[in-house]
Amino acid sequence: MERNNRSTKMMIGLGVVLLVLLGRLFYVQIINESYKTDADNNSMTREIIYPPRGVIYDRNGLLLVGNRISYDIMVTPRQVSDLDTLALASILDTTADFIRDRMAYYKKFRTRIGWQTLTFLKQIDANVYMRFAEEEFRFPGFKGQVRTMREYPFNAGGNLLGYTSEVSPEYLAEHPEYRAGDFYGRTGLEAAREKELRGKKGWHIYQRDSRGRTKNAYRDGEFDVEAEPGSDVVATIDARLQQYGQRLMNGKKGSLVAIEPSTGEILTMVSSPGIDVSVLAEFGKHYEELSRDKNKPLYNRAVSASYPPGSVFKLVNGLVGLEEGVLQPWMQYPCNMGYVYTSSGRKLGCHAHRSPLNLEDAVMMSCNGYFCYVFKNLLENPKYANTEEAYNHWREMVMSFGFGRPLGSDFPSELSGNVPSSDYYNRYYRKGRWRFQTIISLSIGQGEILTTPLQIANLAAIMANRGYYYIPHVVKASEGVEIDPKYYEKQYTMVDPSHFPKVIPGMWKAVNAIGEGGTANVGHVPGLDICGKTGTAQNPHGKDNSVFICFAPMDNPKIAVAAYIENAGFGASWACPIATLLVERYLNGEISAGRQDLERRVLNTKLIR
């Protein structure tokens, strides 16, 4: 059996070769200790180089978020040996007890920590750091780490910018690319653009001399990897306008959002009460206090709060009516302090004004009765088989204005608001058991409909553009930062642009037709041609919410604004002054003499305690 014999010989050979490999492995991994010591950092040390995080500019190049240097002490517990606790404590300006506590903690969790390097002391004084750097060789396992921290040279946009914080264990579990001690953007712009702002970590390899003291670049840095700095982000925010908006909103609860209609760029986004930028850099220290505040300053109302839009929603109903052909600009409807909608005489109230009104004047005076007729005609449109079908068409058109769904902004935690589906009413009232009268509140933007301030600001932009919008966003494209092409696309509503000019004169008159009963005369600024619509939305928790949207100038608008102030009464009392002051400041750069009293009143009034 010559052949089998050869096969066997070769298999024995295979066995021998594999045993040689295993023997070598056994030697390298188990018998020979020198490789382990090498790995334990004896001759070479690696220093992680943190890239400077990208900075954030406003639309005019003003620095909103910058960096400053911070010094940390890091520790790799597995490498710590012969620790002179007292000496380390005195060098680092801390107590021996603190160090002993930390070491005990590391020991307790040693299996979980493994070979990881942890942050031992954060943000120590530069002098302390220099002192430590000289003596570092005495404390194996400890090393200094220089990194950058956030700095905020201009006081604007606390909630908008968001904050960075050290990664949490939960976040680490989901993002293995981070390591303990890294910082990441938690909220706002910092979170939205984490990927670009972050950059890439690098490392330097150093060699120590026999006394472990001086460090030389290993092989002249041939194996070093330089950190890649994060990309700078340019926000669409106008920092000065943002700051002014924050001052206007000071002491009020609500949101103020301004959009450039021709681009969808968000110029200002205030959520009040909000976070002051001075707490952002060391957010961890303030977190407890802020999260307990009953006014919820951490909560960004502009995108995450949903409210009934109130009368500003009449614009939408009017436009849908025009599109569906159930409304014509010349149509007049009577209104005597309201609209009676049940045989028993139940009435949806309105304020005193002349009657009957056409569409333009109904918008100007914000007549409730008029829009009840409009909504009735929409839902009882003979084109459709029943109310439900008519409602579904109405809902679809409303949603095309960006309501009832997230707009798709690049800002995190945007809510969708709510435009109830017919299923909802079918469940609530049973199928076929609800009619126009049942949901009459929707005529005037009350009831189940909920919108975010960003969505109603977007409505202002749609009015300004006469029928389309760009998805509102807070980041401009710049070097190293791309934005989704969807932000460059016009989003048309389902209402034909030709209908918008039939409504806009009413908005112009609301602000500028002094003495004719317009609801927003307080917002009149000579020469600016602001077009606006007030709203007063019922709030189950106290006083009504004051709402106002506007854009200006009427032709070729530069800015569209929405102000939503909780528990502040009529739209004209607070939201209108605040929004129009912002517009005036943006377009004119200053407040005219005739409106400075108004400005003073707004700046100085605190509606919340």
Binding site: L25, V28, Q29, Y35, K36, D38, A39, E177, I205
Partner: protein
Amino acid sequence: MEDRSLDRGLKKTVDWRLIVLYLLIMLFGWINIYAAVRSGEPASIFDLHFNCGKQALWMAGALVLATLVLFVVNPYFWESIAKPAYGVVMLLLIMVIFLSSNVKGSHSWFELGPVKFQPAELSKITTSLMLASIMSRPGFKMGNLRDFFTAAAIVLLPMLIIVAESETGSALVYTGFIFVLYREGLSGWWPALLGIAILLFVVTLKFSWWVSVIMVVVFAGVYLLYALRRVGSLRIRRRVIWLTVLGVVAGVALVLATDFFFNKVLKDYQRERIEVVLGIKEDLRGVGYNVHQSLIAIGSGGLFGKGYLQGTQTTFGFVPEQSTDFIFCTVGEEWGFVGCLFVIVLYGLLIFWLVQDAERSRTAFTRIYGYCVAACFFMHLVINLGMTLGLMPVIGIPLPLFSYGGSSLWAFTTLLFIFIALDRQEKKYF
């Protein structure tokens, strides 16, 4: 129509042991690739910006390929295309020298848009098919000079072209075919002489030329005594003496040529790599850096390793070519000796069962092809692990099915599954 009653089921015909090993090696490789590229911070193991994610795609492709080879392509097809395929691939190998882009000094990659592939990978398959085809012809005898030269030429041709592509490492794999020839009747002297030549080369470089010369003389003396005692006939005795003298002259010539070969023929980096592995030069910074870092990574793993994704050496990219040629470092560091043992056992079993199936085969083509496959796996395993463990000079070839790389993974998949298909075909009918 086939007679279904004789058609045996999949369970009995396909050698599932090989397929299980194949999957285990590939999957274990994949999760180690993820560990190796982790410092680049991929979003997940499927992140296509990183090798781990790309490997997932390659693996999916490999499985499709394996299915096609196993169930769709008629196994007889391979035998029928052995010659044309061999010819085409030899042409590709030559073309790539002139048409390829220069990747780290070698001209072995074809680039077609985003797709890159190395014809050298294909040539392992076609050479194996060709060798099996020629050597399984009725009447083929290794002892016949003409047949011997034909077989040798089939192996040497791609080998030489690949050397010309400056891919000396890949060429070295082809020396493994000597085991196939040996199995088919090549005199045991050939592998032995090859071994002696390598030994002399190493000894000459490591110690001195005269140590080698003494070794040659001692070898010759021992052989002479052994041979002369066995044969009685004067005529054969005389031949043995002549042969011995010839051997000594050749041996001494080899020793004296070593110096020339080493200093003049080899390129600088090749010379340095050999010097480092022989310990002639302690160069922890230059060429030795890779191997030293590799050993530190493996050594620091200890018995049980640091745990998956817990490696410190491999993660920060201190070991170069982390997910390709040096992937075994990650195993060593994170899974320890136990993990390495596991991997080696997987390969050991794969090669052993391949040879076992080959031996059991009733057709010469399947048997010879099976040996070729086993030899390719064996050579890759030994060269790759030898390099990572500092036993061999740095030769950049992948750990088969384990290292990152689409063209290598697909080539080895095809290589292996052609054998499984051949083996199945044969077991299908009694």
